[in-house]
């Protein structure tokens, strides 16, 4: 493999200060509300937005995100509508698509991932995260991403062994998604020791490290950035807000306001983390 190409937009998002990388399921609970929600994340300071394209068998997700994926599918989301949605968005953040490999593989005419990546590039999507695609199976997608200038993000788990880590890091670009603890996605109150251990293992690799899985407050964000993360990925805590909006039948604007407010809390927390890390470095 040659050097993976880097999307300049994602590199820029990590270049100045810790990146805030929120995730929402596109089309949850419907197209128009979802558009308002993603734009609220952007106003709240998102640097990169991970847009979830729902698959019917999401084996890597916990119940919060799984239910959101079902809401979106029930409302008629398809890959084609997903791309239209991305084109429709008015945001400054770089866009990353998170989905499962079967949807990428099946898209368009002919075999393989190329048509999906070509279409994603046309929709100005800058990168992909594919939770069920291991490095060993990723070369066709990596080649397509290189051809169209997309980043391909891989997830590193606390249990990833050293030999696998090398294989992943040869193929990753944009940022590496550091899974903060074992398990599927879902908001938790603890910040795991596994996070610190994972960041230590990744220190030697020259790619931004974004930590995800379980971040739900500004205080979490602060601790994780202070601990060495270059970015924070937040999914379930945001999807929870959308789910509450559905359960309580709240107006779209009210849900969007909550998403924007949590986003501000998270970006401010991340910034505090950056300052305390800088101070710690200076005092050494």
């Amino acid at each position: 493999m040659g050097e993976p190409a880097n999307s300049s937009a994602i590199a820029a998002a990590f270049a100045d200060g810790p990146a805030y990388v929120p995730y929402l399921v596109v089309g949850d609970p419907d197209y128009e509300s979802s558009k308002a929600y993603v734009e609220a994340l952007d106003r709240g300071g998102a640097d990169v937005i991970e847009l979830g394209l729902p698959f019917s068998e999401p084996i890597a997700e916990g119940s919060t995100i799984q239910e959101a994926l079902v809401r979106s599918l029930d409302a008629g989301m398809t890959p084609e509508r997903f791309f239209a949605f991305a084109e429709d968005l008015d945001v400054d953040a770089a866009l990353v698509c998170m989905t499962y490999y079967n949807l990428i593989y099946q898209y368009g005419e002919g075999e393989g991932p190329r048509p999906f990546v070509e279409r994603a590039a046309a929709a100005e999507i800058q990168g992909l995260v594919v939770p069920d695609l291991p490095a060993e199976e990723a070369d066709p997608l990596r080649e397509a991403c290189d051809e169209f200038g997309l980043d391909l993000v891989f997830i590193v788990a606390p249990t990833t062994r050293a030999d696998r880590l090398d294989r992943l890091m040869e193929r990753v670009s944009g940022y590496v998604y550091v899974q903060a603890r074992l398990g599927t996605t879902g908001a938790r109150d603890d910040v795991s020791d596994q996070t610190t251990a994972s960041l230590d293992r990744l220190r030697e690799y020259d790619v931004p490290k974004a930590v995800g899985f379980g971040i739900s407050s500004g205080e979490h964000a602060e601790r994780i950035v202070a601990g060495g993360a270059d970015g924070i990925i937040v999914g379930s805590a945001l999807v929870d807000i959308v789910a509450e909006g559905v359960a309580e039948d709240l107006p779209t604007a009210a849900v969007a306001d909550r998403l924007e407010a949590l986003s501000r809390e998270l970006t401010e927390g991340a910034e505090r983390g950056r300052r305390s890390r800088a101070e710690a470095t200076e005092s050494v």
Binding site: F55, S56, E57, P58, I59, A60, E61, G62, S63, Q66, E67, V70, L73, T78, P79, E80, Y100, Y101, N102, L103, Y105, Q106, Y107, P131, D132, L133, P134, E136, E137, F154, I155, V156, A157, P158, T159, T160, R161, R164, L168, Q179, L182, G183, T184
Partner: protein
């Protein structure tokens, strides 16, 4: 039962009993041509690598005498070998020799114990402390619960809510054996949702938990490992056929859902080129799919599916044009799965396995035919193989082995209800129950 005890010395004294020529496929890298692989979240990767290592050591190389203990327990606890029985009336009806491989006589009433016992024992050798499993019809769940109780391991079984209601006796059996049964409410509440949910549990608990997958599906090494545990069916059947008839069968027939009884019945015959292999899938109500509703009213992924990635493997799937997995259907919940083992997908593409579909009506007729002619009430899954025999016996050779993968006690309510909704010509008169059933 002396006539059934036909294992030759070759089968019982081999130091490396599972190294047989027909079972080399997929062992090295989990690939069957373009199928197979390890499409799993990164968090699960170390667990399946650890499992692949344990498979190599204990199953392939018989380390610490694992395979010896497995065989001993299959005999003592499971009741192996199961007989290969000549079906006299079916032989007469079709004017061909029909032999039944009686996996319905295995402990628990289905072939499922072969795999469950193998995996739970392997988990013990690996030092795992907890067992999880998914189940559709409940057959794999009950087999896993039995094996876990037998080997004193705590066990949690995930089962779709809809399946729980369709298979109440199996739920009771799992609970009686001390397993916890967790209902899965997502999606339509059937097997594919239960598999996804079990993978989620495993992602959080991999360090001390083994996931006993129920078929030759999922990421490597599950497809080869489950095949090797189930291959005892074909190993026995092949030797029994030679002993009883002096030669190989012309045809081997097995029903196919995920494919574990199918591949177990075919494994040692794959290299016998003269033996035709027929995988009988559930044709449901029709082979047409409803793209709009995302429903395939069948479970015929070998016959009607196309290539994709599901539950950790590249295989043949029932999916819509976007790649979303369809809701499958069959009168038998054990065949009700939108995917199939990657090895079977490969053998179908290679032309080695003949995929055929039998619809719900023909399966029910097969159910009644075996019940009233041979005195064997088959599982509704198994009944599909007998539906095929009725429809295609003229295309078959002079000596046919059909795998009776399970007994039908679990299906009596469903069979009577489904029969009641149809005009099944060979069904008994159940009209005395028309009130207050």
């Amino acid at each position: 039962m002396s006539e059934t005890d036909t294992r030759t010395t070759e089968a019982t004294d081999g130091a490396v009993p599972s190294r047989r020529p027909g079972r080399e496929r997929g062992r090295d890298d989990g690939k069957f041509g373009r199928y197979g692989g390890q499409y799993v979240p990164e968090a699960l990767m170390p667990a399946i690598e650890e499992l692949a290592d344990a498979y190599e050591r204990y199953v392939l190389n018989n380390e610490d005498g694992f395979m010896d203990e497995f065989r001993e327990r299959l005999a003592a606890f499971g009741g192996r070998p199961t007989p290969l029985q000549r079906a006299d009336r079916l032989s007469e009806r079709y004017d061909t020799e029909v032999f039944l491989k009686r996996e319905d006589l295995l402990h628990g009433g289905a072939h499922k114990l072969n795999n469950a016992l193998g995996q739970v024992l392997l988990a013990k050798y690996m030092g795992k402390e907890r067992i999880i499993a998914e189940t559709g019809a409940g057959q794999h769940g009950t087999a896993t619960a039995m094996a876990a109780a037998h080997l004193d391991m705590p066990c949690t079984i995930y089962m779709g809510e809809r399946d729980i209601n369709r298979q109440r006796p199996n739920v009771f059996r799992m609970k009686l054996n001390g397993s916890e049964v967790k209902p899965v409410t997502t999606g339509r509440g059937t097997l594919k949702e239960a598999i996804s949910e079990t993978m989620r549990d495993w992602a959080e608990t991999v360090e001390d938990t083994h996931y006993v997958i129920g078929s030759i599906v999922g990421p490597h090494p599950f497809p080869v490992m489950v095949r090797d545990f189930q291959a005892v069916i074909s190993e026995e059947a092949r030797e029994q056929a030679i002993e009883k008839t002096g030669g190989l069968p012309t045809d081997v027939v097995a029903c196919a859902g995920g494919g574990s009884n199918t591949m177990g019945t075919f494994a040692d015959f794959v290299d016998d080129e003269s033996v035709a292999l027929h995988a009988v899938e559930a044709g449901g109500s029709t082979l047409e799919v409803d793209e709009e509703e995302g429903v395939a009213p069948n479970s015929a992924s070998l016959y009607a599916g196309d290539e994709g990635v599901l539950h950790g493997a590249r295989t043949k799937l029932l999916q819509d044009s976007d790649g979303q997995i369809m809701e499958s259907h069959s009168v038998s919940s054990g065949l009700d799965y939108a995917g199939v083992g990657p090895e079977l997908a490969y053998l179908v593409d290679e032309g080695r396995v003949d995929p055929v579909a039998v619809d719900d009506d023909a399966a029910l007729e097969g159910f009644h035919r075996l019940s009233n002619t041979e005195g064997i009430i088959p599982a509704l899954e198994t009944a599909h193989a007998f539906g095929y025999l009725e429809e295609h016996h003229e295309d078959l050779g002079e000596r046919v082995i059909v795998n009776v993968s399970g007994r039908g006690d679990k299906d009596l309510d469903a069979a009577i209800e489904e029969t009641d909704q149809r005009d099944v010509p060979n069904a008994p008169d159940m009209s005395m129950f028309t009130e207050g059933i």
